[in-house]
Symmetry: C2
């Protein structure tokens, strides 16, 4: 597989929906097929580098997403494929980032992937123990519990992670970027 031009795979979804798992599989899949310079911008990691001090109000969440988006467009513009995995709960700012990235990377270069999974199931998984903390009130403004999540209307790829395996989800994403000509066999 060879890279043809830069793109951003932008995961959105609840905590525990599988964004990081999917992004890691897609990352390794791309690497093992020869696209070696993929940059993963994980929400938690990026927050410590770009957004220390920001909280979880709508305004602060939007600012955080705009910053990640700005870095993603720098990479896409320079043909560095990148994967962002952040809850990014608000539709408007996701669409703002979409425009910013397609402006430099061309149509289709923003690939929104909806890691779709109900709160119930995410809460049952509760890998990081965060839902428990949200229910007990220890964490306020937790997306899906006491803070809104706005699902995308027309994501490029929707992965129902309650139904399909991470590997099958990654296949759908790789198929998409291949079919759109971003990578070539």
């Amino acid at each position: 597989m060879a890279l043809q031009r830069g793109f951003t795979i932008w995961f959105t979804g609840l905590s525990g929906a599988g964004k990081t798992t999917l992004s890691n599989i897609v990352h390794h899949r791309l690497q093992s097929e020869g696209v070696t310079n993929v940059e993963v911008l994980d929400g938690d990691v990026v927050r410590t580098h770009l957004s220390k001090g920001l909280g979880f109000t709508r305004e602060d969440r939007d600012t955080n997403i705009r910053r990640i988006g700005w870095v993603a467009q720098l990479l896409t513009k320079n043909n560095v494929p990148n994967i962002v995995a952040a809850i990014s709960p608000y539709r408007n700012v996701r669409n703002e980032v979409r425009k910013m990235i397609e402006h430099v990377g061309g149509p289709g270069s923003f690939i929104e992937v909806f890691a779709d999974c109900s709160v119930d199931i995410c809460e049952k998984r509760d890998v990081k123990g965060l839902y428990a903390k949200a229910r007990s009130g220890e964490i306020k403004q937790f997306t899906g519990v006491n803070d809104p999540y706005e699902p995308p209307h027309n994501p490029e790829v929707r992965v129902d992670t309650s139904q399909c395996t991470p590997e099958a989800g990654a296949d759908m994403i790789i198929d998409h970027i291949r079919s759109k000509g971003f990578v070539k066999l």
Copy 2:
């Protein structure tokens, strides 16, 4: 000229010392010789994207520089040559960024350029009218007037912008990156 590997040209110096002027000339010189994918991160521009809300205390300035540095290392790591032009008054955080960039880009990939010029001369130029505002008290914490500037001890390139033309300064910088093998004739 062809790019061999990524690097960061990091300008430091007082407001009005010539950082932006030099960075623009170096950028165009590189472009015209075939290194077309150079990314310029100008301090003022980056502040609006990454550091809105931060002020000019030492802590806030350091946070701003760390964020720019983090983006610069992402680019260097992915072989995207980049130029940062920000006052970056504190030596410690500049050295922190140096380590972060050399960690991903290898020895020498952080090229510190000291735009060296006395406060007196910068103040006489006062292109943006900022020194006048600092003297009148309209701007507080202005580097060189009522906020410290720590010159680098061993910059890779020192350009005395009170003595040499911007073009001659740019020559010194291009000569450096060529002699270190980052670009090739």
